[in-house]
């Protein structure tokens, strides 16, 4: 992992300088507004648990005590219940050394303890062989709070920086408090080149090349930009990301008991994180994480460059199996019974070899199948037990197959539906500010777009999920019933909005039929208002006496009620 180790003193001095080095294992996790993590390419989610809190070493991380935790094939993502878009954190699975599970004991809730891979500080060595204070060699980028000019300053810009850097545009000295949100610190490029060439074993290592498609990625990228494969060259990344001090300004968190510098040094840094399960026993999550870690290691080992290559320029790469065996002569070299017998024997031998090969392949397949079976049996009893309770067949959400109970599933579905509806009607929302869709339409759309291959949801589930929006803090859309019979997902006041619009149109062109009305209503936006909605609104207008009808063979024509005032 680490190439060159520095002296122990050096390590310690660095440790003292940057005591919260380990905190950098936490990354900012992007989430949707409805509180679902945005997965990377090739990332699959495995398990979700609810009501968890995060600990760093032994102290609580403030504001990260109630949330959901997602185990994916690459990360552990914590999504905060209260403020999902800001307070969410993620943890790379590859950064975890090992894990330990401590079950619930009396009032102590179950915990999953994750030991973080210790990142050696000695990696950064200056060109002269000494660890240079890398703060001098980095560049701080900050945005001027006055003129919004983004500035670059040499050295790390901290609270104690004196004198404060001056904005190149407006000439005002920056205030740390005001700029800290925009601050990002990265190593200057030329220094990186200089150090990497010395500190890494070979030149070839300092490019972040994708093992699958050979694309050379940016050194800070963890997943290939082209194919999404996880990049194994983590030392480059860690070298730059963790050591040289690229800080993500979006990650802000405080500990309940901040780590004191001296203590940290004495303790010889036990870097661990804890996930506390407030509600569930967490066993399943721990097992799944362990499995995911194991799988990750396996794939890391398994991802050999050009793995299934058979030949290069016609020369065989792998010489095993068939080629190991003595070459078999199949041509009849001689005439006569002996040769016939010989050829018969060769044939038999040949068959044997092919048969053997087939068996080996089959064995390999079986062992894989066993792995899968093991995984299944490890998790299924729990699932089955819960399934009976809810009387509910576990539907899958994207690849989310594991839910403890129906309620959790519905919560998740609700978030997804919300997100789906928001994104689906984004254009209308932007143009008109109002969205309204019948649940029936949404149901069809959602099932068609999102649920194919992952199990359709029932209308009942759809409705229950939509009823949960408010609980989950999803405020833009609400399930409303119009005319006391049709359920709609609508943004606030959208009904009144469309009603006034319809009344205006009816006023303008008296005697219009529904078709004309729909066309006029959707004049500047295609299909913003579906026919079902319009019909319901018209019905509502008729019920309120705002519109009167003229029923003909050609259809119903609508008029403003101008003669028969409705008694208030």
């Amino acid at each position: 992992m680490i190439c060159i180790r520095g002296t122990l003193n050096l390590e310690k001095s660095l440790e003292k300088d940057r005591p919260i080095n380990v905190m950098e294992c936490w990354h900012f996790a992007e989430t949707t507004s409805s509180g679902q993590p945005i997965l990377r390419e090739n990332e699959k989610d495995i398990l979700i648990d609810q009501m968890v809190g995060l600990y760093h070493n032994k102290s609580k991380i403030l504001n990260r005590q109630k949330g959901r935790i997602f185990l994916t094939s690459q990360r552990i993502v914590y999504v905060d219940d209260l403020n999902p878009t800001k307070n969410s954190l993620s943890l790379e699975l590859s950064g975890i050394e090992s894990l330990q599970f401590s079950s619930r004991f009396l009032r102590r809730s179950a915990r999953l303890i994750l030991f973080v891979k210790k990142v050696d500080d000695s990696q950064v060595i200056g060109p002269d062989g000494k660890a240079t204070g890398y703060y001098e060699n980095c560049i701080s980028t900050w945005v001027c709070p006055i003129c919004m000019m983004s500035n670059e300053t040499k050295g790390e810009f901290t609270e104690s920086t004196d004198p404060c850097p001056i904005c190149v545009n407006c000439g005002v000295a920056a205030d740390y408090e005001m700029t800290k949100d925009s601050l990002s610190i990265s190593l200057s490029n030329d220094y990186l080149k200089g150090s990497s060439s010395e500190s890494f074993d070979s030149k070839s290592n300092d490019v972040n090349q994708c093992p699958a498609c050979t694309f050379i990625n940016h050194y800070q990228i963890t997943n290939c930009e082209i194919c999404g494969t996880r990049l194994p060259n983590s030392k480059i990344r860690q070298g730059t990301n963790n050591e040289i001090g690229f800080k993500d300004s979006r990650v802000h968190f405080e500990l309940e008991h901040p780590i004191s510098t001296s203590k940290n040094v004495n303790d010889e840094v036990t870097n661990f994180l804890q996930i506390s399960f407030r509600k569930s026993d967490g066993v399943l999550f721990a097992q799944a994480t362990e499995k995911a870690l194991k799988d990750l290691k396996k794939t890391e080992l398994g991802s050999v460059y050009n793995k299934n290559l058979v030949s290069v320029n016609g020369v065989k790469v792998k010489d095993e199996g068939l080629t190991d065996l003595p070459l078999l002569e199949t041509k009849l070299g001689k005439i006569g019974i002996t040769s016939l017998e010989k050829s018969g024997e060769t044939q038999l031998l040949n068959n044997d070899i092919i048969f053997n090969n087939a068996l080996t392949d089959l064995n390999r397949l079986m062992s894989l199948a066993n792995d899968i079976e093991q995984l299944y049996t490890g998790i299924s009893p729990k699932l089955l037990g819960e399934r009976k309770e809810g009387g509910h067949k576990p539907s899958l959400i994207l690849d989310r197959e594991k839910f403890y109970n129906k309620s959790l599933f519905l919560d998740e579905i609700a978030r997804e539906i919300y997100e789906f509806a928001i994104s689906e009607f984004k254009a209308e929302k932007e143009r008109l500010g109002y969205v309204m869709v019948t649940l029936v339409d949404l149901y069809a759309m959602y099932n068609k777009c999102m649920r194919i291959g992952t199990g359709l949801i029932s209308p009942q589930e759809m409705r229950e999920a939509c009823e949960r929006f408010e609980e989950l803090g999803l405020k833009d859309l609400k399930l409303t019933k119009i005319n006391g019979r049709v359920l709609c997902l609508a943004s606030k006041n959208s009904f009144d909005f469309v009603k006034t619009k319809i009344l205006d149109i009816v006023n303008e062109s008296a005697g219009c039929d529904p078709l004309l009305l729909t066309q006029l209503l959707n004049r500047d936006s295609s299909n913003a208002w579906t026919f079902a909605i319009i019909t319901e609104v018209l019905q509502n207008c008729i019920d309120h006496g705002d519109i009167v009808i003229d029923e003909q063979i050609s259809g119903i024509h609508y008029y403003r009620n101008s003669y028969w005032p409705v008694a208030v």
Partner: protein, 187 residues
Amino acid sequence: MPMPLPPIYSFPPLYTRQPNSIIRRQQISSWMDLILQYAKSHNAWCMSAEGSIVTEGSESVQESIFVNNEIERSVPQVFINEIWSTMCQEGKAIGTDKGKKESPTYYILWRTVDSWASLILQWFESAGKLQQVVTIYELSQGDESIGWEFHGMPEPLTADCLKPLCHRHRATIVNDEYGKPVAVKVV
């Protein structure tokens, strides 16, 4: 000279039974006003259930009030029946077939029966016919009532209009041998 009908007559939704009951009540009252106005201006005492004016003797088919050729709308028969029954309930029309719910023709009362009764009483008083027996024919078709609004009123309807006077003991109706009212004496 018949008066032109108000603009609501060319409002297409008038011809469709409105689903909203509050609106429908108003719609029916619009219809009643229209019918009364129409009948009054045409001096029509009787209309068929289809909405055309029935004059005694002549069976000429006239255009119905329920059909508006101008805007190509007509009221469906079911709704016409509803209008008639509401009119009968409110005392603005009387079916000619007594005792039946629906009758082929209706007497249109653009005044109420009581109002007709007092008008007739007024005539008796002003014409000096009190304490005399006056035939119903004389009353409604006779020369002496020319110029009065009830002149030309069909006899059965006149008899109906005299009933309130009988109740007030101001009049006595004389029936013929078949029980048909033929004359009246007002005191």
